[in-house]
Amino acid sequence: MRDAYLVGAGQSDFGSFPEESYRSLFRAAYEAAVESVPAGIDPEAIDEAVVGTLGVGGRQIGLPGPAVTEHVGLSGVPCTRVENACAASGYAVRQAVQAVRSGMADVVLAGGFEVMTDASGDRTRWWLGVSGETEYERLSGTTFAGVYAQMASAHMDAYGTTDEHLSQVAVKNHANGAKNPHAHLGFECTLDDAMGAATVADPLTLYHCCPTTDGAACTLVASEDVVDGYTDDPVRIAGVGAASDAVGLFQRDTYTAVPASREAARRAYEAAGIDPGDPAEHLDFAEVHDCFSIAEILAYEDLGFCDRGEGGDLVASGATELGGDLPVNTSGGLKSKGHPIGATGAGQITEAFQQLTGRAGDRQVEDPVRGLTHNVGGSGGAAVVHILEREREVGS
């Protein structure tokens, strides 16, 4: 089975852009990805495209993939749309890896987009709920934030996790996002800001919730047979793991974990040869799915960065800050960088590419070799984890 490599990745700015369209945002990401390929790439070399989007707003429910790939001139390239809620483009990258490994393609474009800020608040709230279980969970009157807030309530009850822990996630990620020129909410916040903000869904405050965001991100995945034509410093996709679970939180075995994340991580670690007992020892940074601050704490535990119930203590220790033992969400995460649903997974891969190729600017981790991305759909109905690693260390 051939290895797959990340040879390029780029994103549009994330934010609220009434003057942009989903196509123009995708174009910005596509051009950034193409330009990021060290030795350049001829679009004619792209054999396949996989595009993730939830379709918020309903503007192009059918065939959104070709709608953007044809727009950027990838005429005739087979394109498949992937929908796995917030994990759409994480899964798009996984599909690209599959296509490369299978031998069906040598170069695959995998990306995603979403436009979320051009509708009324009521209409947006409707769309934000469409990835919950509709017939029972949604009809209990809950929201996306509400479901994660329920997880927070259970985690607090079981492990003593506190409002302060939740807020520390927000403070850390805003500090990182303030260093990211592409971030939607690129400003710092204080612990008091986060703890004192208005309640959205108890115990989650406004600062514990990611924004709704417009944006796009694209990656370019190439086979080992052609990678040398694009870069001398390749980033190998060392492991991919994915898993599904029940769509409704009430249907799962636990509310204090995301079982799909655990299983996806186990598979990715196994594929990458990482000791699942201490994965943090093998990782230099991680981009995790922090749609709500409790989600980052759950991710620490599900990904094995700490023991069950100790996620709050881990963020409090500072270990996941930039400069800590395992920086998490150096991009600012969904919280500060933003969460354009279909673009988020590819956006995480883009951050990993920038870190591993030394292009992360003020938020650069020192000489990283291996990083992890973790992308979750809905409240845990789908999850995908990628392990990316440099085959040559920075400076070598």
């Binding site: 709230r125 009157g141 809950t142």
Partner: protein, 484 residues
């Protein structure tokens, strides 16, 4: 068989149940808002919650009556529902009421409306049907224009009676009387507000004359010497029934013995039934029951209780609301659901999920015994794709996870209900199985701000879930019953 006055029992009450919403507004609150309070004899009125209506209150009272009687809904042969405020003007509510109470599909169902004597008409109809047993439910939540005296009086509540041929309390006599009195209280076609011309002496005379004549039919009336321990009399406000005491041939203390209007307000078609339930609950033996509908006609029934029938009457209300909150709860100043769509569960899909919407049902796995909610698909415990045996859950469960959706944060299909009722809780509840175990069910928390905590015990109640394309979906919510 029409009720007669031959001295034999016409039928009997096996048990009674009653329900009133927990919200109360005081006369003083209304007076502070308007500079006056125009409904004499009323201290407080009950206010329906944002997700309550005549059907949900009727279900609550019906369940209590059945529980008190230790009768299963599946045993009922007859169901009558009385209200002047049906949630929809056309559409048979007894089907949904019956489904929520597990009444057999083939049971006789009757609806009574358009008059506040609908409650006593429903009781009379049960006597004619002579079921063994049957259930009579009266529920109402009238309203008027906020400035109108009828809105100052407007309350909410429901009463239900399990009836049969024999029981601890017997109907021994029945009569009715009609007297055309146009211009007394009425509601125009297409309106949800009662009004009246306010010709005070005419209104009072019409009431007293009509109820008095009906009472004469059961041996009471102005010139009688008959005695009763309590008189459950139609109470459009807290003064009218006392003004009619002479015409009924009872003293005001007898009227007071069965009154609920001072604490619940005008409960319309449920007014007299609530009085009867209250009198039975207080242990009164001989009860004059008088229902009145403006326009006008009256029913009189005489009940004699040899022993106290079991009752489940929980009419307390501890949620005081301001006048602004009252206007919100009533939907007077709320904007309605916004445009922008909402979760779509088609009506046929909803129908397929019944009756589990009225009481949660789980699938019991024949392989591992685990419970899965909803009872479809693979077993949530062992993953086997099996044919479940459906079992009924609850009504009690324990909160496993909970949040409270802040005001303004509700999905659009819940926006109007939140505007009315405020922030609300949403919980995942481990609802008890019939033979141990539990299944986790996502439930909205009823009654506003009372968001429970993890570990608290809650009980399943039926409320309005949401309305889409004009069709209201009713289903289970959780009502806190406090920690262990």
């Amino acid at each position: 068989m029409d009720p007669t006055t031959d001295g034999d029992a016409l039928g009997a009450i096996l048990a009674a149940g009653a329900y009133a919403p927990p919200y109360r507004i005081t006369a003083d609150e209304v007076a502070d808002a308007w500079g006056r309070f125009d409904a004499g004899g009323i201290d407080r009125t009950a206010v329906p919650g944002a997700d309550e209506d005549a059907l949900t209150m009727g279900i609550a009272a019906g369940r209590r009556a059945l529980s008190a009687a230790e009768v299963s809904g599946s045993d009922l042969e007859f169901l009558a529902f009385a209200t002047t405020t049906p949630p929809q003007e056309e559409g048979d509510l007894t089907a949904r009421l019956g489904a929520a109470l597990a009444v057999p599909d083939g049971a006789t169902r009757q609806s009574f409306s358009a008059s506040t004597r609908a409650g006593t008409r429903a009781l009379s109809a049960a006597l004619s049907a002579d079921p063994d047993p049957g259930l009579v439910v009266a529920a109402d939540c009238p309203r008027g224009e906020p400035a109108d005296e009828r809105d100052h009086a407007a309350g909410a509540g429901a009463a239900a009676f399990v009836v049969g041929s024999e029981g601890p309390a017997a109907f021994v006599d029945a009569a009715e009387h009609a007297d055309p009195t146009p211009g007394t209280r009425f509601r125009r076609r297409g309106s949800d507000r009662v009004e009246g011309l306010g010709v005070t002496s005419y209104d009072r005379a019409a009431f007293a004359r009509t109820v008095g004549a009906a009472a004469e039919g059961v041996g009471f009336g102005a010139d009688s010497t008959a005695e009763a321990d309590a008189a459950a009399v139609q109470s459009p406000d807290g003064a009218m029934p006392y003004r009619a005491a002479d015409a009924l041939g009872v003293d005001t203390g007898t009227v007071a013995a069965a009154e609920t209007v001072s604490d619940l307000g005008d409960t319309g078609a449920a007014s007299t039934p609530l009085g009867l339930a209250t009198a039975l609950g207080a242990g009164h033996g001989r009860i004059l029951v008088v229902g009145y509908g403006s326009g006008g006609a009256a029913d009189a029934l005489l009940v004699e209780a040899e022993r106290d029938p079991p009752t489940a009457l929980s009419l307390e209300g501890d949620r005081a609301v301001s006048y602004a909150e009252y206007l919100r709860l009533r939907g007077e100043i709320t904007p309605g659901n916004p445009d922008g769509g909402g979760a779509s569960v088609s009506v046929p899909a909803w129908k397929r999920s019944l009756p589990g919407r009225y009481r949660p049902r789980a699938g019991e796995c024949p392989e591992c015994g685990g419970l899965t909610f909803p009872p479809e698909g693979a077993c949530g415990e062992c993953g086997a794709l099996v044919e479940f045996e459906t079992v009924e859950l609850g009504p009690d469960g324990r909160v496993e996870a909970v949040t409270r959706i802040g005001q303004g944060g509700a999905p659009p299909e819940f926006a109007e209900a939140q505007a009315r009722g405020g922030a609300y809780g949403v919980a995942i509840v481990a609802v008890e199985g019939p033979a141990g175990g539990s299944a986790s069910v996502p439930l909205q928390v009823a009654d506003g701000h009372d968001a429970p905590e993890v570990g608290d015990v809650v009980r399943a109640v039926v409320r309005r879930i949401y309305t889409q394309e004009g069709v209201t979906r009713y289903g289970v919510k959780a009502r806190p019953v406090g920690p262990d």
